[in-house]
Amino acid sequence: MRADLDKEYVKTWAQRAVDKAVAAGAHTVSAKVTHQAKFALEVRNDEVENLSEAQSRSLGLTISKDNRRATVSTCELSDDSLNTLVDQAVQMCRYTDQDPFYGLPDKEWLAGEQIPLHLADETVLTKPIDEKVAMVRELERILKSRAPDFVSDGASLKTSMLVSALANSHGFCDAQDGSTISLGISAFAEDNVSADDLNTGRRQMGSWFSRSRWFDDLETLDEIADAAIDNVRRKLGARKPRTGSFPVYFEPATARMLWSHLLSAITGTAVYRNQSYLIDRIGTEVCSPAIHLTDDPLLPRGLASRFYDNEGVACRKQDLVRDGVLQTYTLSTYSARKLGMKSTGHASGVCNLIVRPGELSEREMLAKMGTGVWVTSVLGQGANISTGDYSRGVLGLWVENGQPVYPIIECTLNSNLDNMFRNITMVGNNVYEKSSTITPGLVIGEMALSGN
């Protein structure tokens, strides 16, 4: 099944693609070849309801001639297909305009020596299917035994093993492999509403998925089932809250969403396109002084660990925000040159984002907050990176005197990202580790809650 799922195979194709494109007259070439084995399994009501398996390949090629660029890709790895693809790319370069900022990264930016990061768990490919089925069945059984009034919406396991090679005409050629595993369950329960309410038929669904690179690093089946059950219970009996201004607690799972908005706004691409609210803000306060954000690409077994980005530029550990002050934009070669800077190794985005924890436990933060909103999930597309405007739907808990009193639903939180990050009043010590954004929960001083 995995005869050719190895690094040499993809490296050979990536180098071959570079050589052919150079021979066809390309001035710069960058080639990426991937080979992936995917597996998915879903169990519902103790039956294996879905089983799928596949291997897929891809070969992508970006070439330039006189600073005119073209990108082509295919899933067919054969000499015929590669020849056609290279011809196409060379043709297409005649039509694009000269872009003086386009080019390969400077040679000295490219990744060199590597240390083992342990990103590939071979058992993803070798674990017998019966064992996988037994594990997923057991997860569902635990949930049902602990919450007999809940209905399972299915427990699932997904695994992937990806081998990918990158080569360019500066002589870079390397391959990496990595596995990812996701194990989780969804369940729902009846949530009867009062007779005069129009929300007849309401149910509440909750789920929890544990993700890791190694089977050993997954949360236990008990932990996953309990987290899913808790996520249903935290929605049962939900009410629409009153409109007003309140402090807001984001637990680690939703704090992650906030950081993703900040990361979008500091990408070099958003900045040079005038599509960020953080243009010209390096060296200024973009978060409260309590905030310290570090990108660590080299965490062993890290979900987003890597040595180099998709241009081959070395990724390194670096502070993005120090004491609330923005240290850098996250730059690819292109966006760096547009802004007169150097690539920061972020052509594939931020790797593992580490948010420095504070001193307070979740309970202490809630106690200090007193009355306000506890956000457990976020809905919608209402974060505008260009302006910082923020209006998103939330589900969560209404907190009074530091205690959650009832779930809330059908409400939105409104503010502006710039105000929100600078108004972080508390950072917890309750870090959730099993994510590529490793953050504690946090409290934002005040946001507009819209409900009744």
């Binding site: 082509v72 302006t387 998103r392 639903i409 059908e410 939105t412």
Partner: protein, 468 residues
């Protein structure tokens, strides 16, 4: 001809289907796809990138009751396809003697005849169109500081065969053109986007249309520059024609997908034939609208594409079925089984979802409103199908005061509960319009869809602004 592309013959198809049925599945199908995507992007007045992607593969599916086995191969030799078939077959646990399956071509209508697919046009001719839109966006307003124009076309050649003996082929064209602008004034910056597309040929992109995309994007960005913060709390909401159909997609569409109802997780489970909306509401999901982005000649499990009435005068009349849920509910599929590509199994998905027009005029509806909001265009939406809690996010919107649109407003979402909001539709106008062909629906996999709506008034829902 299509068979050759996948190195298939009727005999080979029969052998693959027989292997798929070797463990006593209820039925099996194969889905063969050869796709070509082209995209061009202009930014800062230069054509920065041209890209082309070719994807091809064959997926084999075996179904037994509610259970599905799936595998695909990107290699077309028979050994690989038989291995995929056996892998998919393992979902069923019996042992059948491989029977014989004879597939025959199955007739179907053509809802998107296109004589000039963009996929077959020269780069030169496409670049000319991009230049028109780009130049116009810059000309319309001095406040414009950045313009991005993208043109994406996709052509998929599909062949499907199943153990019912059906064999179908189809060519599915798709075109999408988008203009994004950034406008700036007094240190403030706003971004807006406009575009259109569908299963249309390149001649759809007339100069008039291209210029209107540019004008709409610029006008919206300028409006946002002068917009005020939106109010917060429960208010009457008027949804303009076209784009606002996203309300239907989120509030009622997703929860009526039959997989959720088969599993019992939807807020509408067990409510067939009940009143779930105001009697002014008749809501349809339709795969047969000519050249629409959400149209299909047949769905991705070889069932006829249909026009399905979901809600008739407020009463729930049908879910959207794929083959598995249709068999579960012992009825015919409504032709909603769709997939993103050969890499995915089909699921119940929407096609083009719209509401029929009513008796009021647009102006009457605005005039009837003392204080509320009017929403014209949208960015997107999301729903929790179990609670019915849904959200959608406007881009161009206005405050309504004393029966008139007074000032543009920004930075808010609309949130509510599907059954609740649809019961509060108090007025439906006669100005039905289909939205521009730009929508993509995500449910673990992406499929193109359409929406449409006349102007409607919702007596109250939560407006997520910040001014109390």
């Amino acid at each position: 001809m299509t068979m050759d592309q996948f190195r298939l013959t009727p005999a080979r198809i029969n052998r693959i289907l027989a292997a798929a049925m070797s463990r006593s599945g209820d039925f099996a199908d194969i889905f063969c796809e050869q796709s070509r995507f082209n995209s061009l992007a202009m930014e800062e007045g230069i054509l920065k990138s041209a890209a082309m992607d070719i994807e091809q593969g064959i997926g084999v599916r075996v179904v037994k009751g509610e259970k599905t086995g799936y595998a695909y191969s990107e290699v077309f030799d028979e050994a690989a396809l038989l291995e995929a078939a056996r892998s998919a077959a393992s979902i069923a646990d019996g042992n059948a003697r491989p029977g014989t399956v004879e597939v025959k071509p199955y007739k179907r209508p053509d809802y998107y005849p296109v004589s000039d697919p963009a996929a077959e046009r020269s780069l030169d001719s496409k670049i000319q169109l991009i230049n028109i839109a780009d130049a116009h966006a810059r000309k319309v307003s001095k406040k414009v500081t950045k313009v991005q124009v993208t043109m994406v076309d996709h052509q998929a050649v599909i062949l499907m065969a199943d153990t019912r003996g059906r064999l179908v082929t189809d060519t599915r064209p798709m075109l999408r053109f988008t203009v994004t602008v950034v406008a700036e004034e007094n240190g403030e910056r706003q971004q807006a986007r406009s575009g259109d597309g569908g299963r249309v040929g390149i001649s759809y992109l007339t100069r008039e249309r291209l210029e209107s995309f540019a004008e709409n994007a610029v006008r919206e960005a300028e409006l946002l520059l002068s917009a005020r913060q939106a109010p917060a709390g429960m208010l009457p909401v008027i949804l303009g024609p076209g784009d606002s159909g996203i309300l239907l997609h989120e509030a009622i569409g997703h929860p009526l997908e039959a997989d959720f109802n088969r599993k019992g997780s939807s807020a509408y489970t067990g409510r067939m034939n009940e009143m779930v909306a105001d009697p002014q509401c008749t809501i349809i999901d339709d795969g047969t609208v000519p050249n629409e982005r959400g149209s299909i000649n047949f769905d991705d499990e070889l069932n006829d594409s249909l026009k399905t009435v979901l809600i008739e005068e407020g009463r729930l009349t049908s879910y959207m079925y794929d083959e598995i849920s249709a068999r579960y509910f012992e009825r015919e599929s409504s032709g909603n089984g769709r997939r993103e590509s050969y890499k995915f199994q089909p699921l119940p998905r929407m096609r083009t979802t719209y509401m029929l027009p009513g008796k009021y005029s647009h102006d009457e509806i605005i005039a009837s409103t003392q204080r509320g909001v009017f929403c014209k265009t949208f960015k997107g939406g999301q729903v929790d199908i179990s609670s019915g809690n849904f959200i959608f996010v406007p881009s161009e919107a206005w405050l309504v005061e004393n029966g008139k649109l007074t000032s543009p407003i920004k930075n808010f979402s609309l949130i509510g509960n599907g059954p609740d909001v649809l019961s509060k539709v108090t007025m439906v106008a006669d100005d039905f319009r289909m939205s521009a062909g730009i929508w993509t629906c995500g449910k673990g996999q992406q499929v193109p869809v359409g929406v449409g709506l006349p102007t409607i008034k919702i007596s109250e829902m939560t407006v997520g602004g910040q001014k109390g």
